[in-house]
């Protein structure tokens, strides 16, 4: 079981500051959603934690051990990245065998079973697979490796709705059968929301939020209905954002919905992760 402590991490690419002084702790056995807009620094953060690129300053400790170039710490992690780090000429089955060399608890039987479920041809070369199937091959590899912490960077990239649903289900099944820390970076927040226990939001390379999804839901609520009624209700309350469609309006309001006296004509919903994300990251 592994806890990752990220301390004052900064990274720049030329003049572009990708990460600024990020301090964060990833607790063990928790499913994290790493959220942020394009270019926010999510992949950079994951790549640094996994020793794929190096930070300009700051430190990462895995179970108290500095992770930089340290096999003892790095061996507890696996990252399913957007990019392919295996030789493209390898067959899918060869990629599984290669990973099995590195991860002592690698479950080859499970990898083959998932390959069948996804209808992934394990004899095909990685370079011959479509983008979607290449993602599937990497997903299976990540789920089968049984590492203590598994990072998924845009795991559902190029996957159809059925495959995406399969991935979410298998991630939960895996988490239940062998608890580990999953860090999932995705833009499909609504889809993954049911999976995520804790959300980490990054904006312009800075940590904006690190909170349990339950706590996020109680941070605010949305009211929908006739625009005039919504406007009247919203008066004097802290409105995070508003959506208007024809004569209907939705207002996202900060506060506890249970302590409010809300008119029956208005529909009340708990704040979704996506609404909060949009509100937080809109510049």
């Amino acid at each position: 079981m592994s806890t990752i402590e990220i301390k004052n991490l900064s990274k720049s690419f030329g003049k572009n500051q990708a990460l600024s002084d990020v301090t964060l702790t990833l607790k063990e056995n928790c499913i994290y959603g790493l959220l942020g807009r394009n270019g926010a620094g999510k992949s950079t953060l994951m790549n640094i934690i996994n020793n794929r690129i190096f930070a300009d300053s700051g430190e990462i400790l895995i179970d108290g051990i500095p992770s930089r170039d340290n096999d003892k710490a790095l061996g507890k992690l696996h990252m399913m990245g957007e990019q392919l780090l295996y030789a493209p000429s390898l067959k899918v089955s060869e990629m599984f065998k290669a990973a099995a060399c590195f991860y002592p608890e690698y479950d080859m039987e499970y990898a083959m079973k998932l390959s069948e479920e996804y209808k992934l041809n394990t004899k095909a070369k990685l370079q011959k697979l479509s983008t979607g199937y290449r993602s599937i091959a990497k997903i299976i590899n990540a789920l089968a490796c049984n590492a203590d912490v598994v990072f998924f960077d845009e795991p559902v990239l190029g996957l159809d709705a059925n495959h995406r649903d399969m991935f979410y289900r298998q991630a939960i099944e895996k988490y239940n059968s062998r608890p580990a820390t999953f860090v999932i970076s995705t833009h499909l927040i609504e889809e993954a929301a049911g999976l995520i226990e804790r959300a980490v939001v990054i904006k312009d390379g800075r940590l904006l939020l690190d909170e349990d999804t339950e706590a996020i839901r109680s941070m605010g609520y949305s009211v929908s209905g006739k625009a005039s009624l919504v406007d009247e209700f919203a008066k004097g309350r802290e409105v995070m954002s508003e959506d208007t469609l024809g004569g209907l309006k939705t207002a996202y309001i900060k506060g506890d919905r249970f302590s409010e006296n809300i008119p029956d004509e208005l529909e009340v919903q708990p704040l979704s992760l996506q609404s909060l994300f949009i509100h937080l990251t809109n510049s």
């Binding site: 020793n51 096999d71 990252m79 780090l85 590195f102 002592p104």
Partner: protein, 275 residues
């Protein structure tokens, strides 16, 4: 570096190189047999294997390992990065796997090649190392045990092939670390500095009364002497111990420089056509 991460990297790497090595050697053997048969048929109308042989197979092996060392390093570093292995471990195991493959190839050169050469009329096996350090027959003629001579040849061959692999690894490490622009500049330097830079420097220094050619000649003579090469002192036998030690030392220095280069190098994902 942990024992497990090193063993895992080493196993993966040896498996990858050995497969390519066997493929290349089989292709070379088949090509040699076909070419000799065709050539003999063309000369006297008979399909025979007369004159078959692998001259300078040790040099060819060195060239092969140079290519493998250079070709596989990026793949090994990336595979390590994908599976929670540090750059240091990936590099150290790459060096170890290249050494293992060098020894395997040297064994092939020392044992199989003389057997193939014995198929020809001359039965001679010509090696670059023999040119440098003295012929095996010379030592056997002067009473040395044939087995000892062969073992010595095998050790020297392993070290020389390993040195070639390390040169490949060093080049690959530089390319792995560099950005795209840096790679282009580095390539241009490698190509153009010896081709144009040297003559220009030679002319420029000659105007100041410095003879660059003789300086370089002196330098290479000293290098040859340091490596115990026979023809420098005109004798038929070189200094094996000195040569072997220098090869090993040079390989270690190259490995250290390669480590300095790759220890903070970002993982470079594989390029896939069409993506």
């Amino acid at each position: 570096m942990t024992k497990h991460s090193f063993t895992a990297s080493y196993k993966y790497q040896v498996r990858r190189i050995i497969f390519m090595l066997i493929l290349t050697l089989c292709a070379a053997l088949v090509a040699e047999i076909i070419l000799v048969a065709i050539a003999n048929y063309g000369i006297d109308g008979r399909l025979t294997l007369e004159g078959i042989g692998f001259p300078c197979l040790d040099a060819l092996s060195g060239l092969m390992l140079f290519i493998y060392g250079a070709y596989f390093l990026a793949e090994f570093m990336n595979a390590g990065a994908a599976n929670g292995v540090s750059r240091t471990t990936s590099l150290v195991s790459a060096i170890a796997s290249n050494f293992t493959v060098s020894a395997a190839l040297a064994l092939f050169v020392s044992v199989v090649s003389p057997l193939i050469n014995s198929l020809s009329d001359s039965g001679s096996d010509i090696f670059l190392l023999e040119f440098i350090y003295g012929e095996k027959k010379f030592f056997e003629f002067y009473g040395e045990n044939a087995f000892v001579v062969r073992i010595r040849f095998f050790i020297m061959c392993t070290l020389s092939v390993f040195l070639c692999a390390m040169v490949g690894i060093l080049f690959a490490a530089a390319f792995y670390k560099l950005s795209r622009v840096g790679t282009v500049i580095f390539t241009l330097i490698i190509v153009f500095v010896p081709a144009f830079g040297y003559p220009m420097a030679s002319i420029s220094l000659a105007k100041r009364g410095i003879d660059l050619d003789s300086c370089m000649k002196k330098f290479f003579t000293e290098v040859e002497r340091a490596f115990g090469m026979a023809h420098v002192n005109g004798s038929q036998a070189g200094d094996f111990v000195r040569g072997g030690f220098m090869m090993l030392l040079t390989a270690v220095v190259m490995g250290f420089i390669a480590w300095l280069i790759v220890r903070r190098a970002n993982a470079k994902p594989a390029a896939i056509r069409g993506d």
